[in-house]
Symmetry: C2
Subunit: 437 residues, 2 copies
Amino acid sequence: MSAAARTEARTANLLAARRDRLGPSLSVSYHDPLEIVRGEGQYLFDRAGARYLDCVNNVCHVGHCEPRVVAAGQRQLAVLNTNTRYLHESILEYARRLTATLPPELSVCYFVNSGSEANELALRLARTHRGARDVVVLEHGYHGNTQALIDVSHYKFAGRGGQGAPETTHVVPLPDPYRGSHKGYETPSGAAYARHVEAAWERVIASGRRPAAFLAESISGCGGQVVFPAGYLAGAYAATRAGGGVCIADEVQVGFGRVGRAFWGFELQGVVPDIVTLGKPIGNGHPMAAVVTTPDIAASFANGMEYFNTFGGNPVSCAIGLAVLDVIQEDGLQQRALEVGERFMRDLRDVSARRPLVGDVRGDGLFIGIELVRDRATLEPAAAEADAVVEAMRHRGILLSTDGPHHNVIKIKPPLVFTRENADEVVAALDEVLAAL
Amino acid sequence: MSAAARTEARTANLLAARRDRLGPSLSVSYHDPLEIVRGEGQYLFDRAGARYLDCVNNVCHVGHCEPRVVAAGQRQLAVLNTNTRYLHESILEYARRLTATLPPELSVCYFVNSGSEANELALRLARTHRGARDVVVLEHGYHGNTQALIDVSHYKFAGRGGQGAPETTHVVPLPDPYRGSHKGYETPSGAAYARHVEAAWERVIASGRRPAAFLAESISGCGGQVVFPAGYLAGAYAATRAGGGVCIADEVQVGFGRVGRAFWGFELQGVVPDIVTLGKPIGNGHPMAAVVTTPDIAASFANGMEYFNTFGGNPVSCAIGLAVLDVIQEDGLQQRALEVGERFMRDLRDVSARRPLVGDVRGDGLFIGIELVRDRATLEPAAAEADAVVEAMRHRGILLSTDGPHHNVIKIKPPLVFTRENADEVVAALDEVLAAL
C-alpha cells in the first residue's frame, strides 16, 4: 500500500470509530479530515509530519504548546489540584491580575470551566440581580450549548433543529455595516442599529415585562466576524440601562488582546459592561473560563443559594491562566496582533481589488473576516466558493474555516504568535486559490 | 509574632482578598479555614507543612497528584491540546475504554468539561429524544449549577434563594431506608418508594403531558449519602419506561469503582440506564466529564443542531482520563474500595454501639455516611453536633464534611488510595471526639 493509501485507510478507520463511539452531532473539519498529532506555536502537524499553518484556533491563543504555559501547568499538576473551598494564593493572584486588565467597576470574579458555563452564570447573575427574565440578543449570536444559552442564541434556536425563541428572548438585527440595513462604520449607522435595542425594550416594557439583560459579543463571531459601527454598543447599553437592564459583554471569542487596539473587544466601542464573560483563549486550551462583574451584582446573587463549581478556579487552571497573561504581556502579543493584523487586512484588501469574489475584508487585530460574494451590488453570498477556498487552502497547508449566516465568511483568528511572514503566505496562497476558482 | 499569629494574620488577609475579588456565593470549608498548598495520595498539606487526611475529596479519585496521571497530563500538555474537529486516536481509545466498563447498550460518548455540563447535556438528550419536557427527580437531589439543572435539583430550587419547581419538574420522596417513610433496605421498601415514581408519571400523563426522563444519582450525595433499598431503581425505571420516558443515572459523585461491589453505582441496583453522566473522579481533578448513551438516543439528538464543546474531549483530557482508568485497574482500586470500605463501616458501626449520637452508618465501598441523631427513636437531627465533630476532626488533621437536608450526615468519600490504617485512624479519632462531645 502507498503512503497515501495507508493514510486514507487510517482516516476511514478513525472516522468509522468516531461514528461508533462519539455522538453524531459533532462534525469534522474539512472534506478530507486531518489527523493532527502535534502543535507548536502557530503550527499543527499531522501524523505524517506535514505542517499546517493554523489560522483559525483562537483557543491556543499564545501558540500551541507555548513552553511557559506548558511548564506552569506541568508544575502545578504535580503539586496540587483541588477545589476552592480551601484558601489558595493563586486564585486570588489570578483574580487580581485579571481584574487589573478590566475597568475598575468589574472587580468580582467567578471561575468556571467553559465559555458556556461563563455565559450561563452571567445570565443567572443578571436575572437574579434584576429579578427579571427578558433578554435582548443579536441576530446570528451564539453564546453556548446549555439549554438557557440555546434559548438566547439566535444561531441555535432559529437554526436547524432549533425550536424558536422563548417569549423572554428578543432578537435585534445584527449591526452589520456591510450586509445589514444600515451601511458603514460611522455613528449614524451605529445609532440606527441601537434604536432597534431601544425599540425591543419598549415593546418588552409595554407588554408588562421587565428587562434583565442585553447580551452581545463585542464582535460577532458566528454572525460572520462582524465589527459593529461606532456608537452601537454605547447606544444599546444606554437603552438597556434606561429600561433597568444590565449589559453583558461576551468576550469568549475576542478577548485577551486579540483585537489589537485594546485588550477587550468592548473597549473598541468605548463602553463598560456590567458583566463580562471570558473563555476560549483564557487558558490556551486548558478547560477554564471566568465571569467578572460588579460588587453590586455579585451581592444580589448571594441570595442564600451557593454557587460552587467543582473544578473552577483550581490551582492548575489558575497557574495556567497566570502564565497566559504573563506571555501576552512579556511578548507584547496585543501589539503584535495589532501590527500583524492591520498589515494583513491591508494586504487582503489589495487581494479584494484583484478578486471580485472578495466582497469585504474586516476585523480588528487578528480577528478577521473575509466575506465572499458573487455580486458586489446584490451581495449574493458565495458559500460554495468559500468552502472551496477553505478546502484548497487546507491542501496548501493553511487551516481556515467559514462562518456567518450564509456560510460565506472566511474566518481568520490564529494564535497571536502569527507572524508577518505567515500573513504573507496566507495572502499569496489565497490570491492564487481565488484566481484558480 | 508567633507562628500561630502569623498564620492567623495570613488567613485573615486571604479571606479579605477573597471577599474583594471572588463572588460571595462561595463558602470556605471549616470555621478556621485551611490554606492547602500541596496534595499527595490521600493527604493534603497546609502552608506550615501540617498533614491532613483527606476523607472527603472524591474528585482526586486515585489520589492527589497520582504520579502516572500527572505524567500523562504533563506529557500531552507539551504535545497537543486542541479540539475534536480534527481526528485524534486518544478520544476514540478513551471512548472505547470507558464504554467497555459500561453495559453494551451504552456505547456513544459525549465529552464535556464538568458534571454540570454532563447533566445539562443528558437532559437535552432525553428531552430531544422524547419530544417531552417533564422530569421526575428525587427530593434533596443536586445535579449541577446551570439554570436547567437548578430547575431539576430539589436541593437548589427548594433551598435558600430557590424559586421552587417549574411545572415540568416532579419531585418524589428520597428512598431513604433510615429516615424516610418506608424503612429498611429490603424489596418491599424499594417497591413502596418506586410506587411514588409510578404515581408521579400517572399524574403527569393524566394532566396531558408526557414523560421525558427520570433523573437520579445512584446513591444520593446531597440527600445525605443515602443508599437505596433493593429494587428501587428497577421499579422507578420500569415505571418511567412504561410511561415512555428515559432513565438517567447521575454517576458524577459515585462512579469509577468507588462503591466497591461494582464499577458504577447503578449496577448495585441491577439496572441499565439509558443515559449515564460521569464527572468529578473521571480526571482526578482535571476539568472533564462525559455523557454516555445509546445509539438510538444519540441518533434522535442529531436533529441538525450541532453539539460542539470547545474543550471537551481534547487530547490532554483524554490522556488524563485514560491514565485514571489505568491506575484504577492496575492498582485494583475498586477491590480496595470494597475491602477498606466494608471494614471501615463495620468499625464505624462498632463506634455507633458505644456512641448513641451515631444513628446510622451506611454506604457502599468508600462512599459512606454517618448520620448523627439526638434521639434514636425520633431521629431528631444532630446538626450542631455533626458540625462540631467535623471541626474537631479537622483540628486532629482529618478532613470531613457534612451534608443531607438536616446537615447532620458526616460524609466519607476519600481518594481510593485510602488505607485500612487511615480508616483505623478516623475510627479512633471519631470515637474520642464523640466521647468528648
